[in-house]
């Protein structure tokens, strides 16, 4: 019987993983909730198991996922990103069920998932950190500790829920008055949201770049990095555009950051693929942020510049293989940019556009173009999941070539039905700062013109407007 691997995810990442499984000549098993019954990941998997009506609750249901894996006789489970991917209980449940969890061991997931523990490990290993406190005690003692920290490092500060993540449970504190107001509220909210009222404080790094390093580690502890990524272009702390390698980084600094990432991985006894995230300030100081113990959405850009299939490697490592290459074998060449094409309206605060049907779906192709998606013409975007439709990743030897290729692809991308982030990206690729690689996490706030879609001034656009009017009004009212 063939080795079966269950993919405990949906959408584009499920397809990405299924492809890797099938290329390894294994069988891929999909799971799905009812709202996903039209999803393409079900169609291309070798087998699919319905796990419930959801929405989301069944993808998050450890018991059901393990049962599905048992029923089909899966050897391993790939969790993708999101859902159960960074849930140590799930990794543990796999281990207990004698199913290989494709990712680090549960204890690594656990300790790196706890921000305070992770910070402690990294501090002990001498990894540079944003100055911060450990978990603050409850009541006035905690508040007093926070004030003492503020006196030393100054405002603004970040008040963070220890159990938070993905941009949630974070609030910015501008002054002492706010600190007084927010401290107890933040604890209460953390308790409600994460069932844990622990909070801590960090200094705010103003307008940093978000730089991260992809690492791979085998069971023997051999750890290599695949270079840097820049994920600074974000909205509401959610990444939109990712670039590999990070731009405007001196080779020395890039190497230092990558070596720090390896050191961080080793300090955590890391195994399998992970991402070490840093903040880089305008003086080129970098600070450890966290290690993501899973495959990242933006892994594609790294694959494009290294030629290494990260998901294939993840599976092989999980099945006990060693890393067959050394750090010296990893060559970074050219540039890659990924844009997340979401069913969202950028002009309406990126409101999701779920529930709408793709009446046209025409994607670009050609040299250096990679698409990771799951949509098709006629597909109705479920309202109950995230809004990512497809990731457009392009590769080019020079930055300019890559940007122009991206522009070409966006111009050729036709999605009708939901509003998407495409028109916004069309503005982005023509924006001079972006074209020069000048952006940090404040980029969207400081480039509001990106949200004003250029009134199409070309002659054909004007004529198209007339044709649209003739079509809409059923006659040319200017000729009637």
């Amino acid at each position: 019987m063939k080795t079966k691997i269950l993919v405990a995810n949906r959408g584009e990442i499920a397809i990405r993983i299924i492809r890797a499984i099938q290329e390894l000549k294994f069988e891929a098993v999909a799971i799905y909730e009812t709202p996903d019954h039209e999803s393409r990941h079900i169609r291309i998997a070798n087998e699919a198991v319905w796990i419930g009506d959801g929405p989301r609750s069944d993808y998050l249901n450890i018991d059901r996922v393990i049962k599905a894996a048992k029923r089909v006789g899966a050897t391993a489970i790939h969790p993708g990103y999101g859902f159960l991917a960074e849930n140590p209980a799930f990794a543990k449940a796999c281990e207990e069920a004698d199913i290989i969890f494709i990712g680090p061991p549960s204890e690594v997931v656990e300790k790196l998932g706890n921000k305070v523990t992770a910070r402690r490990i990294m501090a002990e290993a001498g990894i540079p950190m944003v100055p911060g406190t450990s978990n603050l005690p409850a009541g006035d003692a905690g508040l007093e500790e926070a004030r003492a920290f503020a006196r030393r490092y100054g405002y603004p500060l970040m008040l963070k829920a220890t159990a938070g993540g993905g941009g949630r449970g974070i609030r910015r504190i501008e002054n002492e008055t706010e600190l007084h107001e927010q401290y107890s509220i933040a604890r209460a909210e953390a308790l409600a949201a994460f069932n844990d009222d622990s909070v801590y404080i960090e200094k705010v790094v103003i307008n940093p770049k978000h730089v991260e390093v992809q690492i791979l580690a085998d069971a023997s502890g051999k750890t290599v990095h695949l270079g840097t990524r820049d994920c600074s272009i974000q909205r509401r702390n959610q990444k939109l555009v990712e670039i590999a390698p990070a731009f405007h980084l001196s080779p020395e600094l890039a190497e230092e950051i990558c070596q720090t990432a390896i050191k961080a991985g080793k300090a955590a006894d890391y195994f399998n693929a992970g991402t070490v995230e840093f903040l880089l300030d305008s003086d080129n100081n970098y600070y450890f942020m966290e290690i993501n113990t899973r495959l990242q959405v933006e892994h594609t850009v790294t694959e494009m510049i290294t030629g290494i299939d990260i998901v294939r490697t993840q599976i092989k490592l999980a099945l006990g293989k060693k890393l067959l290459f050394n750090q010296d074998d990893v060559k970074l060449r050219g540039h890659a940019i990924e844009m997340r094409i979401n069913a969202e309206d950028p002009q309406n605060n990126f409101m999701p556009e779920g529930g709408k049907t793709l009446s046209i779906y025409q994607s670009p192709g050609g040299y250096g173009v990679r698409l990771d998606g799951f949509c098709y013409q006629g597909f109705t975007v479920p309202e109950v999941y995230d809004s990512l439709l497809v990731k457009l990743t392009v590769f080019g030897w020079s930055w300019n070539e890559t940007v122009q290729r991206l522009k070409r692809c966006l111009d050729n991308f036709v999605i009708a039905g939901p509003k998407t982030t495409i028109p916004f990206y069309k503005n982005l690729v023509q924006e001079p700062d972006f074209q020069n690689g000048e952006f940090d996490t404040s980029y969207l706030d400081t480039h509001q013109q990106l949200f004003e879609y250029r009134e199409q001034k070309s002659e054909v656009s004007k004529l198209a407007r007339l044709i649209a009017e003739i079509h809409h009004k059923k006659q040319n009212i200017y000729a009637a």
């Binding site: 009446s359 009708a416 002659e459 004007k462 004529l463 198209a464 407007r465 006659q475």
Partner: protein, 635 residues
């Protein structure tokens, strides 16, 4: 013999015409478009026809003038100068001809002298032959045009407007020719302008002969219409009696009220031993083959009544006004009254007002008066401003006799003699401050206009500005074929539209889906040169607040009975006859609307007090738009 081309100067052209053994043809494309398609034949179609029309060897192509310049900017959304420039590029050889209404230029009322001269100067850069007329055959009304044409080194073709009746003798017209030549000299072409297609072949033959007897060297151009189906008879008689040029048009688009088919003219006259000089019959045929498949897109503009109307000999409406008159009757809901209007009232009014020539703008005065007389039930009860001006002699002296005193009394009241004494006489219009107009246009456009844009603006100020704004928003849309520009009912999903923009770049637009959200906002997706573009349309205004979606005729009539007076058709307000607070009686005129050339009085159906006036003079209205409100007495 060398072909007449743009390379010749006027003297060479006239010499060639004088020496001709045979006759020449003017392709009267403009008049065909105006008479049978409400002037809507697009530049796109004329450009398709251009190469074969240029090869056909016509004396000239009449492609501008008349009402076409107004329709160019108002409906066809094309710059009337650019149109000529582009056609000239495709037609290097053929002379371009215009039809100019003298002091009325290409509009409906007299223009100041300096505007006339500037306009002629600008158009003369493209137009080689200037056919000029005055509806009263009042020669001074044409003089400024004659002078400017001569100065520009172009050919003057003064017209004698032709009609029928006991006053319209050969001698009258021969004297008129003499009067014209006293102003222009002999280096002209004389046009017999038979805009109604009136008279028999014999009558036209006699007239041409009489003029030729008096002026053997004079080149005569016969212009007619085929309204009664008999213009080829008249053309034949004209040529046999010495006319050198005749008007006809391409058979692919021949209708009923324009000129007859070129090919039939050629075939008929051949049998009489008359040769169409320089004509390449194959090119004539090829033109029609080339544009034939475009005709169905223009069907929507054909006249409401189709078929020849030999009764034109009774009502005398000019071919160029048939389409718009019938359209007005259809829109105004009085198509059923047409026999009465056309066969009884119109000829009666015509005789009463002096039996002059029913052609723009006189034909509109006759028509509006006749319609008003029939619809209002009281003859001359609601005289238009134009009728008053006519009676006062503002447009020129009555050529044969003045209208009877009772008409003056009806129109002006018991003091009509004083009024005539004080206000009578030819309209003197002061020169316009053209620099001021240029500044006004600059302000409205937000940039300095070109001289040609200024001239277009001086003709029709509001419509010109609207056109310039249209072009800024929608580009140069003349590149679109009628299958796109005049499409009715929208396009099919997935339909691909291929065209070249004005730079010659080819484009492909694919029609994508149309979606409406809950708020009624419509999104249309077009795939433009393989790039998606999204067009969002606000929901149509809801009924109630502003009753925009067109009301039916019945609804408009019902509202009128309640004192809520709405526009019955689309047109401009040219007069508001009452003031707020004024008492009105049933049948009182409250406003006048003008659509194209037609003035139509709006009459109160109720007695009461004017409560609110919703419009201003000059404002463009759509059917159902509010005009004014009358508080009905006793309510």
């Amino acid at each position: 013999m060398t072909r007449i081309t743009t390379a010749m100067n006027p003297t060479q052209v006239l010499d060639t015409l004088r020496r001709a053994d045979g006759y020449f043809i003017t392709n009267t494309a403009r008049d065909m478009s105006q008479s049978d398609y409400k002037n809507r034949i697009l530049l796109h179609t004329d450009l398709l026809a251009a190469p074969s029309r240029d090869a056909a060897g016509y004396f000239s192509l009449e492609i501008t003038g008349g009402a076409s310049i107004h329709v160019d900017i108002l409906r066809k959304q094309v710059d009337p100068f650019l149109k000529l420039k582009l056609l000239r590029e495709q037609m290097p050889d053929t002379l371009f001809q215009t039809l100019c209404r003298g002091v009325n230029l290409f509009g409906y009322r007299p223009y100041p002298q300096n505007v006339i001269r500037l306009t002629v100067r600008e158009f003369a850069k493209y137009v080689d032959v200037w056919r000029t007329f005055d509806f009263m055959n009042h020669v001074p009304n044409m003089q400024a045009v004659f002078e400017e044409v001569a100065k520009a080194g172009k050919i003057n073709e003064p017209s004698i407007c032709f009609s029928t009746g006991p006053e319209h003798t050969d001698q009258f017209y021969v004297d008129k020719v003499k009067e014209i030549m006293a102003v222009t000299g002999e280096e002209i072409i004389l046009c017999i302008k038979n805009h109604g297609g009136l008279g028999t072949p014999k009558r036209i033959g006699d007239l041409v002969d009489a003029i030729k007897q008096a002026y053997p060297e004079l080149i005569i151009h016969y212009h007619g219409h085929n309204t009664d189906g008999n213009d080829i008879g008249r053309i034949t008689a004209a040529v046999l009696n010495g006319a050198t040029i005749v008007d006809a048009s391409d058979h692919a688009f021949n209708g009923f009220y324009g000129p007859p088919p070129i090919l039939s003219v050629i075939q008929t006259l051949k049998d009489y031993g008359k040769t169409a000089i320089d004509i390449n019959e194959e090119a004539v045929i090829e033109t029609s083959e080339t544009i034939h498949d475009q005709r169905p897109y223009y069907e929507q503009f054909e006249a409401q009544i189709k078929g020849f109307l030999p009764t034109v000999q009774i009502h005398k409406l000019p071919g160029g006004a048939m389409g718009s008159s019938l359209e007005q009757a259809a829109k105004g809901g009085f198509l059923n009254k047409m026999p009465d209007i056309l066969h009884h009232e119109l000829p009666r009014v015509q005789k009463e007002l002096g039996n002059w020539w029913s052609v723009t703008p006189g034909s509109q005065i006759l028509w509006t008066t006749a319609v008003s007389n029939v619809l209002d039930g009281e003859r001359y009860g609601n005289p238009s401003g134009d009728l008053k001006n006519l009676l006062l002699g503002k447009y020129g002296p009555f050529p044969f006799y003045s209208p009877a005193d009772w008409i003056y009394e009806k129109v002006f009241g018991p003091d009509w003699k004083d009024i005539l004494e004080k206000e009578g006489g030819i309209l003197e219009i002061e020169d316009m401050d053209i620099d001021q107009e240029r500044r006004t246009l600059t302000e409205r456009l937000g940039r300095e206009p070109t001289e040609q844009q200024l001239v277009t603006f001086l003709q029709h100020p509001n419509d010109a500005v609207e056109f310039f704004k249209f072009e800024e928003k929608f580009g140069k849309s003349y590149v679109l074929p009628p299958s796109i520009f005049l499409r009715r009912g929208g396009f099919a999903l997935g339909e691909t539209l291929v065209f070249q923009d004005y730079t010659g770049k080819e484009h492909l637009i694919e029609i994508g889906p149309e979606q409406q959200d809950k708020k009624g906002e419509t999104t249309i997706y077009l795939n433009v040169d393989h790039h998606q573009q999204i067009f969002v349309f606000e929901p149509e205004q809801q009924a109630g607040t502003n009753v925009k979606p067109s009301l039916s005729k019945e609804e408009i009539a019902d509202l009128a009975k309640a004192g809520d007076i709405r526009a019955g058709f689309s047109g401009n307000v040219c007069e508001i006859s009452v003031e707020a607070g004024q008492d009105v009686a049933v049948g009182d005129r409250v406003a006048i609307l003008e659509a194209m050339k037609m003035q139509t009085p709006v009459v109160s159906e109720v007695a009461g007090k004017v409560a609110k006036i919703s419009v201003k003079v000059g404002q463009a209205l759509q059917p159902g738009d509010k005009i004014l409100k009358i508080d009905v007495d006793g309510e």
